[in-house]
């Protein structure tokens, strides 16, 4: 069966241990977590988790049902209509030739987030597959560190 990538937006009560219920569910039942981000929803008692997972269709259906089954789960949104963005930070030594870096950052909604005596840190926020491409392209500047945030998503 076909392996499908799926973004889930899960709204849960913002209470102790809720993250461990979710991560424990995925670990215990052998589901994949490609990325997971979580933050409280302002002015509510709720949090939003954005989970990127993958599996075949029946597995994805079970994941959604099992998430629903958790007592603190308020809502599981699995609409295809997500605005989904990821963030990457890339640390590049200053001795590199930065020829073309500006144009590349522009193309990927990027900026220079910080610069120091030995390194600069660039930041891009874009679709996850474009982040993939950016990280490939940026290799030519010999980055020393790369960090990706995992997806955040909002349903339309």
């Amino acid at each position: 069966m076909e392996h499908i990538r799926r973004v889930l937006s899960v709204i849960v009560l913002n209470e102790d241990g809720v993250l461990s219920r979710i991560s424990g569910l995925f670990a215990g039942r052998g589901y994949n977590i490609d990325s997971l981000t979580v933050a409280p929803i302002p002015k509510t008692n709720l949090s939003r988790l954005t989970i990127v997972t993958s599996g075949n269709a029946p597995v994805l259906e079970q994941i959604v049902k099992q998430l629903h089954k958790l007592i603190p789960t308020y809502k599981v949104i699995e609409s295809g209509q997500f605005v989904e963005k990821e963030l990457a930070l890339v640390k590049i030594p200053l001795n590199e030739d930065f020829n073309g870096l500006d144009a590349m950052l522009k193309a990927y909604n990027g900026t220079i987030a910080s610069s120091g005596e030995e390194f600069i840190v660039v930041m891009v926020a874009d679709d996850y597959d474009r982040i993939d491409n950016f990280l490939k392209a940026v290799k030519k500047y010999n980055p020393t560190d790369i960090v990706r945030s995992g997806s955040v998503a909002l349903d339309m």
Binding site: V12, L13, D16, G17, S20, R21, G24, G28, N45, P58, E61, Q62, K65, Q66, H68, K69, I71, P72, T73, Y74
Partner: protein
């Protein structure tokens, strides 16, 4: 009302009409036990091991349909309770288990008897709480009982730090439950129900596949009525024994690994399967690609995640089984013609005549199946039947004549040896007017043997019938069939003297080597009004048959074993 956390626990139990608590004290829960001492709303039964306290609460819940309650202390008290929680969770049994915890200020310091209890219980309970503030305690206890008994029932664990049990707070037990995120669905979708009835009308070979949900939903009467109106033959899972009643002409028997031939053939040849609160366990389905492969499937279950988890479902209906069948009955009366399935019923009955459940009786040695049938003849519906796990459990499921739901208590999902005796204690407390029999094995009985003391002290007369084959028989059977008779670590010829053992606790023991002795021992045990142990020497090498080997197909059963 201003109360301490401990007093709140007592008050909440009173509001929930709890009449008995099973438990075992220790440092972190002593404040609660101090209040237990002062109150007289419920009875506290001291078991001799925390695992047994949980199983006893579980047995109480299964026999009565009420929420079972248990108390344990922190650390080892709680870890001892885990097997009990997992057992109840796998079989969807409503329970509230309260554990003590080290004071909040000490959590995370590896304090004496500290363990991350909610971290451990999370995958084996329906829900759990760590109470961090006494003001949350009334709400949490209210929710705990509600969650345990509503929807798909299950155990709920509440971990209360010692300082919280001492703190004073305002106690107002919520009259109503308001949960933002938890709202089980009880009513089935009428359109889906209509489609299901249409599928039944269109079918020629329908079969009811009844699971433990029929018992949890208290739906046995509705299931029987529905089956009768439609004339649809039924099979029961291990968990559903008693739903149809053994005299019901539509009941084929138990299905699955040790199910009867006609039940497994019904599943294999059906063109429509109607799953009533069953969960397609691997011990039921055998090889999935061959399971009921000609059948469309209607699945009614209160747990949406049960539907479609193992096999794709054509007609899913989420709802409480009793509720949904009540809605189906008028439609069935109007549209379904029972006569239509007569050829199918006849065929299945013929299967049953060709290959009935059977065993070869003997006059030299007691056959375990005979002992179970004999208890059935002598006690029938006067007895509740508990079991441990192994061959004796399967024979009990096959050969006891069950007449009603909640007559049968067994650890189905987890298969927990050591369940039987403590569960029997809980069942007897719930149903004192019944004779409670625990069919057990010489292996299993030693896994909670200390509970003989509880039975004597709290005067809970249950009868343990050890089908003693001097083997871990079920494992021995697999070694015979699949491991060339290499009996690795299954020989139990080294045994205690069970008669002396039970007598040392203050109960009564009987050693039985013949049928006459068996009848006499049972009669005396029933009359004795004390905990009894009947040690029955049975044929050592008897096998549970028929059998679908793990991963085999239901239509290709091993009907007998040839050397």
């Amino acid at each position: 009302m201003e109360l301490s956390g401990s007093q709140m626990v007592i008050e909440a139990l009173r509001k929930e009409n709890v009449s008995v608590v099973f438990g075992y004290p220790g440092g972190a829960i002593m404040n609660v036990y101090d209040e237990v001492y002062k109150q007289n709303h419920f009875k506290h039964i001291l078991t001799r091991h925390e695992q047994a306290a949980i199983h006893a609460a579980d047995g109480y819940a299964r026999a009565s349909g009420e929420v079972g309650v248990a108390f344990v202390t922190s650390g080892p008290g709680f870890t001892n309770a885990v097997t009990g929680l997992a057992t109840a969770y796998m079989d969807s049994i409503p329970m509230v288990v309260i554990s003590g915890q080290v004071p909040i200020s000490m959590i995370g310091t590896d304090a004496f008897q500290e363990i991350d209890a909610v971290g451990i219980s999370r995958p084996c309970v329906k829900h759990n709480y760590l109470v961090k503030d006494v003001k949350d305690l009334p709400r949490i206890l209210k929710e705990a009982f509600y969650i345990a008994r509503s929807g798909r029932p299950g155990p709920v664990h509440v971990d209360i730090p010692k300082d919280v049990t001492a703190q004073i707070g305002h106690f107002a037990y919520p009259a109503e439950i308001k949960m933002q995120t938890y709202k089980p669905t009880y009513k089935g979708n009428p359109r889906q129900i209509k489609k299901a009835i249409e599928a039944i009308v269109a079918s020629k070979r329908p079969v009811l596949y009844i699971g433990g949900g029929a018992i949890n939903s208290n739906a046995a009467e509705e299931v029987r009525e529905f089956a009768k109106i439609c004339g649809i033959p039924a099979v029961e899972t291990l968990m559903a024994r008693g739903v149809m009643g053994h005299e019901n002409p539509l009941l084929l028997g138990m299905l699955g690994m040790h199910g009867c031939y006609s039940a497994n053939m019904a599943m294999s040849e059906a063109d429509l399967m109607i799953a009533f609160g069953s969960r397609f366990d691997d011990r039921v389905t055998g090889k999935l690609s061959e399971f009921a492969k000609h059948a469309k499937i209607i699945h009614i279950d209160i747990d949406p995640s049960s539907i479609g988890k193992i096999v794709p479902i054509d007609y899913p209906i989420v709802g409480d089984l009793k509720n949904v069948i009540e809605a189906m009955i008028p439609l069935a009366k109007e549209h379904v013609e029972a006569d239509r399935y007569k050829p199918w019923r006849d065929l299945l009955n013929r299967y049953n005549e060709i290959h009935p459940l059977k065993y070869e009786d003997s006059n030299e040695v007691i056959k375990p199946q005979w002992a179970i049938e004999r208890v059935g003849e002598l006690l029938g519906d006067k007895a509740l039947i508990c079991t441990d796990v192994g061959q004796h459990q399967m024979w009990s499921a096959q050969f006891y004549p069950f007449s009603y739901p909640r007559q049968w208590l067994t650890s189905g999902g987890l298969g927990t040896m050591g369940y039987g005796l403590p569960a029997a204690l809980g069942a007897k407390v719930a149903m004192p007017e019944k004779t409670v029999i625990n069919f057990t094995g010489d292996g299993s009985i030693l896994m909670n043997i200390q509970e003989l003391m509880t039975a004597v002290e709290s005067q809970i007369p249950v009868i343990n019938v050890i089908l003693n084959n001097q083997f871990l028989g079920m494992v021995r059977q697999w070694q015979t069939f699949f491991y060339d008779k290499r009996y690795s670590s299954t020989d139990l010829t080294m045994q205690p003297d069970f008669v002396k053992l039970v007598e040392s606790f203050g109960g009564r023991g009987f050693r039985v080597k013949s049928k006459e002795e068996f009848d006499k021992a049972l009669e005396e045990a029933v009359a004795s009004n004390t905990v009894c142990m009947i040690d029955v020497n049975v044929d050592r090498f008897e096998n549970v048959l028929p059998m679908v080997p793990a991963g085999g197909t239901l239509y290709n059963m091993m009907l007998e074993y040839k050397e």
